[in-house]
Structure formats: C-alpha cells, structure tokens
C-alpha cells in the first residue's frame, strides 16, 4: 500500500499528488520532488539505447530510512512516483509493478476524457478512487 502517489507531467510539474493525510504531506511532496532527479537520471542512462528498449518501470529510485520511493515513466515522459512504507516488507516488486500498471491504466482513462486538457490537474473521481484503493488505509 502506498503512502503517497504522485503523477508528474513531462515538464516536471505535478498533475496529481496525494498522500496519506495523517502524516506531514509536505514531506512527501519533497520526497517526490527529489525523486524526480533520480527519475531523470534513470531515463537518460538508458536513453542512449532505443526508446523502446527502455522499461517503463524504473524500480526503486531510492530508499530512505522509513520510506522507499518507486518510479515509473510512460513513453510520453509522464512520471508516476510512489512512496511506500519501508516497514512494509511484504510488498514485492510485482505488486509495485501492478500498482503502477493500474495507475497507468487509470491515467490513460483520464487522458481519454475529452474534457480533460493535458496538463491540467487530474480531478477525475475515478482516478481518485483508484488511488485511494492503493493507499494505505489509515483511520
């Protein structure tokens, strides 16, 4: 279960960012922001190869003491960043991948909406509900 999910546009501004509300959300925003550097580094590292060889799932970007940050980038340079709790050791790579895939699917659906202008903040309720289902349930 993610603690924070963010969708970053190609120009590196956030299209959607959502955190578990109990914690200091600003901290997560900062983590996502710093992870963008790592994402760019990973993109450019493989950039010399053909684009189609580049994998969308970037894997673990960097770990912190109590959080791990995973990245995923689409072919249109839209980045998904997910912060998970480091103590959640049961979370495997496959699950992270599936979560990113769901994110990507939902993002695609948002894009398909003719009323959505690319570059706007994502305000789709369906997207929200999907992200909520992925977030840690903190009550």
């Amino acid at each position: 279960m993610a603690v924070c999910v963010a969708v970053i546009a190609k120009e590196n501004y956030p299209l959607y960012i959502r955190s578990v509300p109990t914690e200091n959300e600003l901290k997560f925003h900062y983590m996502v922001h710093t992870s963008l550097d790592v994402v760019d580094e990973k993109i450019s590292a493989l950039g010399k190869a053909l684009v189609d060889q580049r994998e969308l799932y970037l894997g673990l970007l960097y770990p912190t003491e109590d959080h791990k940050v995973y990245g995923y980038v689409t072919n249109s340079k839209v980045k998904f960043v997910m912060v998970v709790d480091a103590s959640n050791t049961a979370l495997r790579d496959n699950e992270i991948r599936s979560m990113f895939r769901k994110l990507h699917n939902s993002y695609t659906d948002v894009m398909c909406n003719p009323f959505y202008n690319p570059g706007d903040r994502i305000q789709s309720r369906a997207f929200d509900s999907m992200v909520t289902s992925m977030m840690i349930q903190v009550c």
């Binding site: 590292a45 189609d52 969308l56 673990l60 496959n94 659906d109 909406n113 009323f115 959505y116």
Partner: protein
C-alpha cells in the same frame, strides 16, 4: 460561546452524532447537510431548528464546528423537553434527556423512515393538490414533493445561515418541479429507506430561490430551464411537467434513495436498489436523445468522437469538471467515443445535473449501455471502469495480431505464430506491456526470465510446426510459463504479441524468450542452452538489454547485419523446395535451416555464447575436414564436435544433404550479405560444419577455391553477388573429375550446392566469431554499467 458542560452520556452521544455528521472526516466541521438532516429527525418545528442554529452560533460562523454542534444538540434536547430555547438553558437545565432523534443515530435509515413517516402524514393533505402522478406511478412522489417543499422552507431560511453548505447550484431557473420531485423521494417512499434526504434537501434548499416556489409549482407550472435550449424539455412545456417530473422524480428518487440507503459513505449509492430505477430514461427522453445524436452522427450505430461530444455538452454550460465526470461515467468502454447508448446516458446525466441532481459516483445500471432494455440493467456490471478495462484488453489482442505480420513481413508463419501467441497469456502480466508495443526486447520481468527457446521454423512446414508443437509441449518442464499458454492475453498482450511474433511456438512471453523462440525444435540442447542463457541474461537485472538482442529484431543494431529480408530473399531465392524440406533434415545447429540469418543469429544467441563459443574453436579445425570429401564419416565425426542435434540429424544421404546445404547456403548467403554483428559465430561454425557434412564429396580443389573466394569476398551485401559466387563455384565444379552417370551428376550438383553453402557458412562463421567476441565484450560492459546504475536494485 457559552461554556458547555456535558455529562458523560451526553458527551459520548454528541461525539457519535458529530462523527456521523462529519462525513468528510474533517473532525472539525459537521456537514451542514447532515446536521440539518439530524435536526429534522429531531422532529422539531422548523423555526425551532432555525433558532437553535442561531443560538449555537452556526449561523454566525457559517458552519457547524464541534462546539456549535454540541451546543445545537443540547438545544435540541432542550427544545424536545419543552424548555424554551435560551442560550443559558444549555447549562441550566439539569437532567436534560439526550436529544431525541427519530431513530438512533446509528440507524439513519430508521431515523429517516421516521422522519418520512412524519412527512407522510402530510401526504394525504396534499394528495389532492398534486398533479396526476407521472407515469412512474409515483403518487407519493407528488405528496412527498410537497413535503419536500416544507423542509425546503427551513432549508431556505437556513440558507443564509449555512452558506458553506455546498449547494449544487444548478441553474436557479431549473424547473421547480424538478426540485419538488427531489423532495418527494425523501418522504413517503416506504420502499426506500431515505437515509439522507437532509443532505440532499439542503443543497436544493440553498439552490432554490423562492421558498414558496414549491407550492406554486404544484399548479403544474414548470418553467423549462431557460438557458437550456438544447434540452428537450423546452420544446414540450405541457408535457415537460410530466417529463420533468418523471425523470426528475426518478432521478431525485434515485439520488435521494441512494442517499438514503447510503449509510455513511457517499451520498449517492446503490441507485439500482430502488424498486423503480430513477435513472431510467423515458421514451420521450430517449427519442430526444436519439434525435440529438443524429444531429451529430447520422449513423445510429456509429460513434460520436470525443471532441464533438465535448462541444455538444459544453453547450450545457455545466462546469468542465462535472462534464468530465459525466464523461467518465458514460463512456463505458473507455474508448474516447460515445455510442448511442453512451450518448443517451451522458445526455441523461447532463439533464439531471442541470436540474440539480447530484451526479452519481457510478453509472446507474439503467444508464449502462444497452439501455434499450430498461429491465436488464441489473446485471450489467456497475463498474464502467473495470468493464472498460476488461473490454479493452479483450479487444487489444485481436488487434495486435494483424500488427504482427507487419513486424515480420518476411516470415511466412506469422499466421501460425499469431495463433500461438494468443494461447499463452504470458507473464507479461508482470511486465509493463501497456505501452511497449514494439519492445520485443521488453525487459523481461526478472521473475519470468525463463526463456523457452521454442524453435520455430519460419517456413510454413507442417512437419516442422508439428515438431515444434511437440517440442513445446514436451518441454513444458523447461518452460515454467507453459501454463500461461492457456491464459487469455491480458493487457500486456502487446509485449506478448511482439514476442510471440518472434516465434511461432511463442513459448516465452517476455522479450527474452521471444528472442529465443526461433531455435528449431530439434535442439533440445539448444533449448536448454537458450534457457540457461536466458536465465543468465536475466539474472543480472530485468532491464538488461537483451543480451541476445539481435535475436528477435532483425532491425536491431546488432542483427542488422543479418537482415531478415535478405535472409529470406536468399532463402527464397535459393531453393524454396529445399528450404521446405530442410526443416526436418537440417536443423541448423540451433536454428532451423532455412531460418534466415536472424534466426540463426537468434539461435546463436539463444544457444549462448556459451555453447557456441566452445564449439567455435572446434568448428575452425573442422574446416580442414572439408578437404575430406570422401569421408562422410569424417564429416559426421567433425560434426559431432558440435553439440547441436542437427549434426546427428544430418542425413548422410545426398538429398537431405543437399537440402541441408541449401539452407546453410542460404544462411551463409544471408549472413555474408549482412553485417554480422550478432554472436552467431556458433551458428556459423555449425553451418559450416553442416555444410561440411553434405559437402563430403566436394572436390578439394573446388573447396579451396571456394574458400579463397570466401576469404576474398569479405562481406557480400548483394544476394546476387552471392549467387554469382555460387554460380562460379558451380561452374568450377565440373572441372573436378567425378563419377560418371546421372546419379553422380546429380550428386555433383548437390555437392556443388553444398560447397556453396559451405563457403557461405565458412565466411559467416568467421564473421560471426568476430561478432561474437565483440558482443561478448559489449555485454560485459553493459552488465557492468547496469550494476553501476542500479545500486539500489537489490532490496
């Protein structure tokens, strides 16, 4: 605020109530809607409720903070006990019973029911005033609506008091009838546990401009929404009442019903649970929608593109956010276009929204596509999103198969391969296949790094296909993904498609496997090798560029030298028949004989540098064996050096030899023609050795000449050149004194062909060996880079 002392019971009770009202979990503010609903449930006169609100300070603050809420509750208790409402009464009145709400706070439904029952009392008095019930047969609707009028007044009065309440400010001109119908569901509908008419009413109350509008509406006046020219209701004012009432009531019922049924979750839920689907579209409405659809798209079975729909619905002047939500709900299959059903659903939602109804969170069942049947909505999945998802993947696979042929136009077995790739879902489920349409090398999921080199013969050879099938099934144990074969392709089919395209047998799902698939069947060893190789390849990390990259992609940089087209042309140019017959006879070391260069390359890669590198040195010494024309055994012995099974399979007979030589010839041709960058060195020696076997009889001098020719000809990029060489070789052959007789001539001819193949293969061998070394070095460097770039990958 006055100090408020609460007893323990009161404290608990109040906090529970506050939690109930705190639908947004803000822990600070109680939703005004809920609070109002609660107050109504307290069965207090409206003016008392208003007074309470003023006293507690909510009117001043505009919202119900916790303290205000508690005070209000206390005042409710005071009022219910009959004490005059005074600010000081909250503390002075001792032993105040807990404020009574019609139902316990945990049973909102019962509370609502109770509140409704109170409303229903008024129904009878108003039944006479109510216009004939709409077609839905909601007699109560009218009455309830009337009741709704009542709550509205306090709501209206409270409007200034609670501006914070989010009024869905539908255009104020929306027909009051709509609003009325909004109310009625709240009351008197015994079938529906109206859980939350309050929250619903309050927004309506706010939206309503005139408190007395409700009564006036009853007279049948239903001003059509003024600005909604595009709404049909303006067209039929007389019937609009009915129409408006009908859908409005229906929708209102729905919304209210859903609100009622929803406990603490969203306000609108379980719309389908209503006995009478309020979201159903009447026939008149549907006809109007259809007409509107026709104005955009004359073909009723066609689609309205998203842009056209956007323009159309933007005219309704609803906020873009809401239109976006309506689109999400109505675009069932998530294709960016609206079918007739989807369009009607969207239109219906827009109309509802225009008239003040909240948008549902999920598409009402009656609005789901296939709206024609009003009754069958129940079974339609009420999750458009999921359905859309499931639908799209289903559509995707078939669409992918046609794309496959485009990838390998020269591969005749595309049809077969496409069939086969569909059979196995491949673990692609774990890889990002969503957007990687062409990533044949798609970094295979490390977990799925089992490359099953399902050999595939690119030539349409039934025998070979059968062999491959057998091999594939037989090697299930080798291929952990075999169970996946029967899984339906899922969203990741793109990946699979690519990979499957690569191999007819399409065992491997991920990119790695695809590349290996081209190995021929007979090579069990090859398979094993491939598997091992794939494992090794994937072990470093899942993104390792397919070490045997050239394998699947003929266009890849590495394999560019071995252009599949060229290979095929070579193949086709050479002996078609021979090629066809070759598969069984001459499985090129790891690849099918006719497999064009790429296949050979692939197989080489699959086999691994491991095996081939080991064999390559052996191959070279074998070349001198070429000189031993007369000794088939020598060649077979030499060929034994190779691990490939095809060696053993080489028939000592001439014919098969010829055929084998032909493909090897073609292979050589292909290889020589293209830049050999892949590590097909192994295959080269294999081919060479293959060539040696059939070329047993070739005369020594001829061979030497060929060899020299080969050496002289570095890389022939022209197939014609190759043929020219071969022709020269052929021409040189007659000079060799050979046996007499037709048979021998035939043998000679075959020998010549074999020699040609030999030369080609020899050249290819050398080139591939060089390539192999280069690639190995490259691979090592890449792996090192990968390790450097992935410091955190091991967690």
């Amino acid at each position: 605020m006055e100090g408020l002392t609460l007893s323990d019971a009161e404290q608990k009770y109040y906090s529970d109530l506050f939690s109930y009202c705190d639908i947004e979990s803000t822990k600070k503010v109680a939703a005004n809607g809920r609070v109002l609903e609660l107050f109504r449930a307290a069965q207090l006169p409206n003016d008392v409720v208003l007074q309470i609100m003023e006293l507690c300070g909510a009117t001043r603050l505009g919202y119900f903070g916790r303290s205000q809420f508690y005070i209000a509750l206390k005042l409710v208790a005071v009022a219910q006990s009959g004490f005059p409402l005074r600010v000081e009464s909250i503390n002075t009145v001792k032993d105040l019973p807990l404020p009574r709400f019609v139902a316990s706070k945990n049973e909102q439904e019962s509370r609502h029911a109770a509140s409704y029952s109170s409303d229903s009392e008024n129904q009878g008095s108003y039944s006479g005033v109510i216009p004939p019930p709409p077609g839905r047969g909601q007699v109560k609707k009218g009455s309830v609506s009337h009741d709704g009028a009542q709550p509205r007044t306090p709501a209206d009065q409270q409007e200034p008091a609670s501006p914070v309440v989010s009024p869905q400010q539908s255009p104020p001109a929306s027909p009051h009838t709509w609003r009325k119908h909004n109310r009625h569901p709240s009351g008197g509908n015994n079938d529906r546990p109206l859980a939350g008419p309050g929250p619903f009413w309050s927004p309506f109350g706010e939206a309503q401009s005139g408190s007395s509008a409700g009564e006036t509406v009853w007279s049948g006046h239903s001003p059509p929404p003024p600005q909604e020219n595009w709404v049909s209701f303006a067209d039929t004012p007389p019937t609009s009442t009915l129409l408006a009432m009908h859908p409005a009531s229906v929708q209102d019922q729905t919304t209210v019903r859903t609100v009622a049924s929803a406990t603490t979750a969203n306000e609108i839920r379980r719309q389908s649970s209503s006995y009478d689907d309020p979201w159903k579209i009447t026939d008149e409405q549907r006809q109007y929608y259809v007409n509107q659809f026709k104005t955009i798209q004359p073909d009723l079975n066609g689609f309205i593109p998203g842009s056209a729909a956007k323009e159309f619905f933007t005219k309704s002047k609803l906020p873009i956010l809401e239109l976006s939500h309506i689109w999400e709900l109505s675009d069932f299959d998530k294709d960016g276009a609206l079918t007739l059903d989807e369009f009607c659903a969207a239109f219906h939602l827009v109309v509802a929204r225009k008239n003040g109804y909240d948008l549902p969170e999920k598409l009402p069942e009656s609005l789901m596509p296939k709206l024609i049947d009003l009754e069958d909505a129940a079974d339609v999945g009420d999750q458009p999103g999921e359905v859309g998802y499931s639908g799209s993947p289903a559509e995707a696979p078939p669409s992918k198969s046609p794309s496959m042929p485009s990838l390998n136009q020269t591969w005749p077995e595309l049809n077969q391969s496409s069939e086969q790739w569909e059979t196995f879902s491949e673990r692609s489920s774990s890889s990002q296949t969503l957007t990687q349409f062409d990533s044949n090398i798609a970094p295979a999921d490390p977990d799925t790094a089992i490359v099953h080199p399902v050999p595939i013969r690119m030539t349409p050879s039934k025998i070979h296909m059968q062999e491959m099938e057998l091999k594939r099934t037989g090697s299930d144990h080798n291929n952990p993904t075999s169970p996946l074969l029967v899984k339906p392709p899922d969203l990741s089919e793109e990946n699979k498609i690519n990979s499957s395209v690569k191999f007819a047998s399409g065992n491997t799902v991920d990119g790695y496997s695809s590349s290996d698939s081209f190995t021929s069947d007979p090579e069990q060893i090859g398979n094993n090798v491939n598997r091992q190789r794939s494992h090794s390849g994937t072990s470093p990390d899942n993104t390792a560029p397919p070490p045997p990259p050239p394998r699947p992609q003929p266009s890849h940089s590495r394999s560019s030298s071995l252009d599949m087209n060229r290979t095929f042309t070579v193949t086709t140019g050479q002996q078609q028949a021979g090629v066809v017959a070759h598969p069984p006879a001459v499985p090129p070391r790891p690849q099918p004989s006719q497999a064009p260069g790429p296949i050979v390359h692939r197989s080489v890669d699959a086999d691994g540098l491991i095996t081939h590198t080991s064999t390559s040195p052996q191959q070279i010494p074998e070349q001198p064996n070429f000189a031993d024309f007369s000794q088939f055994e020598v060649f077979t012995a030499s060929s034994v050096n190779e691990e490939q099974d095809d060696e053993a399979e080489r028939h000592p007979e001439v014919l098969p030899v010829e055929k084998s030589s032909d493909p090897s010839n073609s292979l050589r041709g292909a290889k020589t023609e293209s830049k050999i960058e892949e590590k097909t060195a192994a295959s080269a020696p294999a081919n060479v050795s293959k060539g040696t076997t059939p070329l047993a009889p070739p005369p020594k001098p001829v061979r030497r000449r060929l060899k020299s020719e080969d050496e002289l000809r570095p890389e022939v990029d022209e197939h014609t050149q190759k043929t020219g060489v071969l022709a020269a070789v052929l021409a040189s052959q007659p000079s060799i004194p050979r046996s007499v007789g037709k048979d021998k001539k035939a043998i000679q001819a075959s020998i010549r062909r074999n020699k040609e193949t030999n030369t080609v293969l020899a050249r290819l061998n050398s080139e591939l060996q060089q390539q192999l070394k280069d690639v190995l070095e490259e691979r090592i460097s890449l792996e090192v880079q990968l390790e450097q770039l992935r410091p955190f990958s091991h967690l």
